[in-house]
Each structure stands twice: as structure tokens, then as C-alpha cells.
């Protein structure tokens, strides 16, 4: 089964290379995504059945367990949504003359390479290869960020590649140190194998493991958008085409966070407590939330605003992992899922707004609910959702995380957490709510939606996040609980 996971994107990329017709490209893309989803469902079932799935091919580096399957499923679902959305989005871009068919081809090739690298990162157990895959995601998405090829896009892409590569390089240093700490403990065939590292965690060299954690945290933290290494994120998210922004925010950040979580599990097991890693994670998490709050308060560009909100939520997840109790880890993983869904929904619907108004500046937009009744509504509700209003799902996970903070009696942290959430909400409300109402702007835009497939995608996401705010399927809960015990041990 696992073979298909990697084969389908590769196949799709090959097909994109050969075909040239617009319709055909759309079809390939959507059907590839659907196939991936089917495969994912089957593998998820396997994982649920056996706890983990291992493959012997290529030296047995492929491995899936509850933690990776959660992130993987997010990748594939958001990937499907993005590819459905892309159909309408790209049609409109071509109609507006912004891009040509040739560019469309490149777009799809890069997009599926991007998805491929992420799948790879999540399905291997060798940390070195995971690192390679994560670095490859940067490279695959670099041109997607710079897709529009103007000054801004180019600038964003340059910063994206440089900062992420440097950050990731530091992560490699961390991985080297982790490797170093295991020398003499693991047999050479198990070098860098994270399951082996985890099993033998108590025997690792503690002082090196601590150092390794620092470098990995900074490295993957850069990719995950933790402040102050977040600086590439708002630029890249705001300049990329909207489906790509959705993928970056909803998927890429999680993959990087996945790397951190794996390391935390190993290092905490080695140290015997979560205090050392917890302090660092919480510090960076709070810093991310503060940064995001400051930037959201007076943000003038709505895609950047959403990007900063991603930083905030990555901070929240980092805090949750840092607390390192069952409840907090559960909340953190749930939050990862919820954030991905909500944020991709927001980026996708913001794409519709962008295509209608041709501006990313908030001040240039008025009367969204009139012009784009569906996307506007989804966007508005999504803003409430992302700010943590019930009955949307983010509220539920934030509640768990907050409860876990208070359960360990760190009131100051809890207070800061709540205040920052409130400040972010204030920022969103102050800046963005005005775009929805009032008459449509004077430059006689006609009301009506353009992206029908996209609407399907975002409405589906809206339904999902509303429902999962109240109840999650039992299977998911089991998966998260399994992942939680993978992280916490025992």
C-alpha cells in the first residue's frame, strides 16, 4: 500500500510532463488526489489495526504509526482540497490572462513534487531522510512561492529559500548530534532510525542529546514558523497562489512540527522529564504568539494576517507539546488538525476574494458578503473559527491546551495565553470585519462567485470544522490517543 503513496504523486508528475491540455491536467490532478485519499484511508485502517505499518523495501526506512498517519492524512486531505480548488482558481487565472497553459503545467508539477516530498518526510523513519525530504519541500515550493514572478513574489521566494535552508541546515547539525549521541548505543544499521533511537533513548548520551534538541528545535522551528525564525512565513504565504498558501500553512508547517515532536519524544525520554524541552518550546511558543498578536493588530494585508495567525497557532502547538502531559499533547495534536483545516479554508476563500478584488490590501475591499456570498460567509465564519470561537473546532483544542496549562498550575502562562488569544481576536475583528459589509466598492465589480469547485472545497471544510468542534469520530480519537502515547511513552 505504502508504495502507492509515493508512486501516485510521481506518476502524476510524469503525466503532467506529457500532457498539455488544460482540462486533462485538472483531471489528472484531482484524480491523483482522490487516489491518494483512498490509499490513505486504507493505510489508516491498517495503522489502526496494527498500531504501525513498516515496509521492508529500501532498507526498511518506510514506517508509519499513529503520529505520522495523522499528519499524513492532513497532508492528503488538504492536498485534495487544494487540488479541487486549483481547478477553478487556475481556470480563472487563465481567463484573466495572468498565466498561460505552460505555467499551469509547471504549477502542477511543482505542486505534486511538493506533496511528494511531504509524503516522503512523513513516511520514513530515518531522521536523515526525513531531513532531506523536508529540505526538499522547501526547494519544491520555492518556485510555487515565486509563481507570479513579480518583484514581490521573487523577494518572498528568495527569503523563503535562504532562511529555510539555513534553518534546516541547523536542524541537520542537530540530527548529526543526535546521531553522535547514539554511537555505541545503536547498531550501525539502525543509525538515525528514530524508532530505534526512541527505544534506546535512555542509553543515549544526555549532554549531546540536549544540544541536539536545541539545534533541531531552531532548525525545524524555522520551517514550522516559530518566532523569531518565522520571518519567511508571512512573505511566502502572502505571495504564493492561494491553494499553495493553504498547503504551506495547513501542511508544511505541520510536517516541520512533526519533526520537532519526534525529537521531543526522544529527548524527553532520554532526560526523563519534559522540563528542559518544555521550557524552550513554551518560550518559543509564547514568543510566536506575542509576535503574531503584535503583527495582527495593525495588519493591512489579509493574506499576511492569516500568515501571522499561522505563526500564532504554531506557537500554541509548541506550547502544548512543551507542557508534555497527556491532555496537552492530545490538545496539541488535535489543534494541529483543526488549525490545518481552518487555515486552509481561510486561505482558499481568501483566494476567491483576491481573484474578485485583485488586491490584498484590506482597505481596498468592501462588501464581500454581497459580492461573494458563499466565500464571504465562509471567510467570516472562518475568522471566528480561527480566533477560537465555539462551536468551531479550534475552540475545542484550545480549551484542552488551556486546561492542561492550568492543570499544572502555571497560571501566569495561562493568563498570558488567554490574553494573547484575545488580542489576536481583537486584531482580526478590528482589521478584517469591515471588509464584509457595506456596498461593493465603486469599481463596478459584478456580484457572483467564480470558482465553483473551490466553493465545494471550502464549504466542505467549513462543515468539517463546525462538526469537529462538537464531536470527533471515535477513530480519530483513538488515533490521537495512540499518537499521544507514542510521544509520551508508555
Amino acid at each position: 500500500m505504502g508504495f502507492f503513496l509515493l508512486a501516485i504523486p510521481v506518476l502524476a508528475v510524469l503525466l503532467f510532463l506529457f500532457f498539455k491540455k488544460e482540462k486533462l491536467l485538472y483531471m489528472i490532478s484531482v484524480s491523483a488526489s482522490i487516489c491518494l485519499i483512498i490509499v490513505a484511508v486504507l493505510i489508516t485502517r491498517q495503522v489502526m489495526l496494527w498500531g504501525k505499518v513498516e515496509y521492508s523495501s529500501l532498507g526498511g526506512i518506510f514506517y508509519l504509526d499513529a503520529l505520522s498517519i495523522i499528519v499524513l492524512d492532513i497532508v492528503l486531505i488538504i492536498g485534495l482540497m487544494a487540488s479541487i480548488y486549483s481547478v477553478g482558481y487556475m481556470e480563472e487565472e487563465i481567463k484573466q490572462g495572468k498565466i498561460k497553459i505552460g505555467r499551469l503545467k509547471i504549477y502542477y508539477i511543482l505542486m505534486y513534487s511538493f506533496i511528494f516530498t511531504m509524503i516522503l518526510a512523513l513516511t520514513v523513519k530515518n531522521m536523515g531522510i526525513m531531513w532531506i525530504a523536508i529540505e526538499a519541500t522547501t526547494l519544491a515550493s520555492a518556485f510555487l512561492v515565486g509563481f507570479y514572478n513579480d518583484r514581490y513574489a521573487l523577494e518572498a521566494a528568495w527569503k523563503y529559500v535562504i532562511i529555510c535552508s539555513v534553518g534546516i541546515a541547523i536542524a541537520l547539525l542537530g540530527i548529526i548530534f543526535l546521531h553522535l549521541s547514539s554511537i555505541g548505543v545503536l547498531p550501525s544499521s539502525d543509525y538515525l532510525d528514530w524508532t530505534a533511537l526512541y527505544d534506546q533513548a535512555e542509553a543515549l548520551n544526555t549532554s549531546i542529546a540536549r544540544l541536539a534538541f536545541i539545534f533541531i528545535l531552531v532548525g525545524f522551528g524555522t520551517k514550522a514558523g516559530l518566532a523569531p525564525m518565522h520571518t519567511w512565513l508571512p512573505d511566502a504565504h502572502s505571495q504564493a497562489p492561494s491553494p499553495i498558501s493553504a498547503l504551506l500553512s495547513g501542511v508544511l508547517l505541520n510536517s516541520a512540527m512533526y519533526g520537532i515532536i519526534r525529537t521531543v519524544a526522544i529527548v524527553n525520554r532520554n532526560l526523563g522529564s519534559g522540563v528542559y524541552t518544555g521550557r524552550l518550546l513554551i518560550a518559543l511558543g509564547i514568543l510566536s504568539m506575542v509576535t503574531a498578536a503584535i503583527f495582527i493588530l495593525t495588519q493591512k494585508d489579509y493574506k499576511r494576517l492569516l500568515a501571522y495567525s499561522s505563526i500564532e497557532h504554531m506557537g500554541i502547538i509548541a506550547i502544548a507539546i512543551g507542557i508534555f502531559t497527556p491532555l496537552s499533547v492530545f490538545g496539541g495534536l488535535l489543534h494541529m488538525i483543526n488549525h490545518s483545516f481552518t487555515k486552509s479554508m481561510l486561505f482558499l476563500s481568501s483566494g476567491n476574494i483576491l481573484q474578485k478584488y485583485h488586491t490584498k490590501r484590506i482597505s481596498g475591499i468592501k462588501g464581500v458578503l454581497k459580492l461573494l456570498p458563499v466565500s464571504g460567509t465562509v471567510f467570516l465564519l472562518g475568522l471566528f473559527a480561527i480566533a477560537g470561537m465555539p462551536p468551531f473546532s479550534i475552540f475545542a483544542s484550545e480549551l484542552s491546551i488551556l486546561a492542561s496549562i492550568f492543570a499544572i498550575k502555571s497560571f501566569f502562562l495561562g493568563l498570558v495565553f488567554v490574553i494573547l488569544l484575545a488580542v489576536v481576536f481583537v486584531g482580526i475583528a478590528l482589521n478584517l470585519f469591515k471588509v464584509f459589509y457595506g456596498p461593493a466598492v465603486e469599481n463596478n465589480l459584478s456580484p457572483g462567485e467564480v470558482n465553483t469547485p473551490g466553493l465545494m472545497a471550502i464549504v466542505t471544510l467549513l462543515v468539517v470544522i463546525s462538526l469537529t468542534g462538537i464531536v470527533i469520530p471515535n477513530e480519530l480519537k483513538v488515533l490521537i490517543t495512540n499518537a499521544q502515547s507514542i510521544i509520551l511513552g508508555g
Binding site: L154, V161, L173, H179, L180, S207, D235
Partner: protein, 218 residues
């Protein structure tokens, strides 16, 4: 044996000092080539040693890759890129050079103290080689910070990669082969992408001065 490695690691560190002291693009590309050569040398010695003692040849293969890619291909590519863009002679660094060199010294000291927490330092597991190579990484980062030109940043990035590689080499005698190869592929792709982007930047901004890329703020 380890004396040779100590000496090599110091030389590599020294080469990165020189890199930092270089004012012009052409000269630091040259310094980078020399540094890569030193690394290839280290890898070669280690590889020969490995093939004699354990029968591994993967380090040798990697050594070959280094020679091909880092000593020959990438510097040439950078030179070509540099030659292709119209380039006016401008000051390329932010702080002045003596200060930067002093900062590099401080970094080495800092790295030493930072790594001294490791149990058993200087007792076989980890030693001056590692300190030196980690310092190279940090110096590479500092180099990126201190250079305004796009090519300077690429070189800085490559120095970081070099530092990483020798860290791996000196501390763990090389990563698993597949990982090493993967890293190389990544690096080469990254450099190619960056090189391509330098052209674009030159096209759009009429300069490869990275300071001009400051439209996306706040």
C-alpha cells in the same frame, strides 16, 4: 591519525576566517573552493582509513562527490553567474572586516564553551575537531548576515553545508551513505535554484544587492 584531522580541521576553520576577510565576490568564491578542497582531503583520508579498516567505500564516494560538486562544479557555476550579471563594484559587507574577524574569534571561543558541557569532551567522543567544525557553521551564518550580495549569501550557505559535513565526518565518521547522498542532492538543487533566482533578481531589481529586497515588511 587524529593529529592530521586536528590540523585539517584547524585549516578549514582558518579558511573560513579568510573567507570572512575576503572583500570581493571572486575572492571568496576562490576561498570556498579551497575550503572544499580541504574537506575533500579530510574525507579522502577518512575514506581510505575506513576502506582499510572496515571495508567501507562510501566515504570515498562522497569524497569524490565533494571534489566534483563543491570544488569544481559549484564554484564554476557561481563564477559564471557572477560573470553573466552586470555588476558594479560596491562595498559588499555590512560591518568592517576587522570587527567581523574578531566576532568570528569570539564565536570559536563561544562554541568551545558551549560544547564543553558535553560529557567526555576531549575523551575520544568529541574533540577539537568538532568544535572547529561547528564554529565553521556559525561563521558561515555570520558570513551570510554580513554580505549584501546574493552570491555572498549562496557562498555563506555553502560554507554552512561544509561545516555540517565536516561535523558529521569528524564526529561520527560520516552519516549513513544514503543520507549523505541525499544531502548532496539537496544542496546542489538548492544552489541551482538560488543561482537561477539570482538571475531573476538581477532582472527585476537591476542589482543583486539583497538590501533592495525589502518591499515585504510589517
Amino acid at each position: 591519525m587524529s593529529n592530521y584531522f586536528d590540523a585539517l580541521s584547524v585549516l578549514i576553520l582558518f579558511s573560513s576566517f579568510i573567507l570572512m576577510a575576503n572583500k570581493r565576490i571572486k575572492s571568496y568564491i576562490k576561498t570556498f573552493r579551497i575550503q572544499s578542497l580541504l574537506i575533500a582531503l579530510a574525507a579522502g583520508i577518512m575514506g581510505i582509513k575506513g576502506s582499510f579498516e572496515e571495508g567501507r567505500i562510501d566515504i570515498l564516494v562522497v569524497c569524490l562527490l565533494i571534489v566534483v560538486l563543491k570544488v569544481i562544479f559549484i564554484p564554476n557555476l557561481l563564477n559564471k553567474t557572477y560573470a553573466n550579471i552586470e555588476y558594479k563594484v560596491e562595498k559588499d559587507f555590512i560591518l568592517n572586516i576587522p570587527i567581523l574577524i574578531l566576532m568570528c574569534c569570539a564565536l570559536v571561543v563561544f562554541t568551545y564553551f558551549s560544547l564543553s558541557t558535553i560529557d567526555g569532551i576531549n575523551a575520544g567522543i568529541i574533540n577539537t575537531q568538532v568544535v572547529n567544525s561547528v564554529s565553521v557553521i556559525l561563521i558561515g551564518l555570520l558570513f551570510m548576515i554580513s554580505r549584501k550580495k546574493a552570491i555572498g549569501q549562496i557562498v555563506g550557505f555553502l560554507v554552512i553545508e561544509n561545516g555540517l559535513y565536516i561535523t558529521a565526518l569528524f564526529s561520527t565518521h560520516g552519516m549513513p551513505f544514503i543520507v549523505d547522498v541525499g544531502i548532496f542532492i539537496d544542496v546542489i538543487t538548492a544552489v541551482m535554484i538560488l543561482g537561477f533566482m539570482v538571475f531573476r533578481i538581477n532582472e527585476k531589481f537591476e542589482s543583486i544587492d539583497i538590501d533592495k529586497l525589502n518591499n515585504l515588511r510589517g
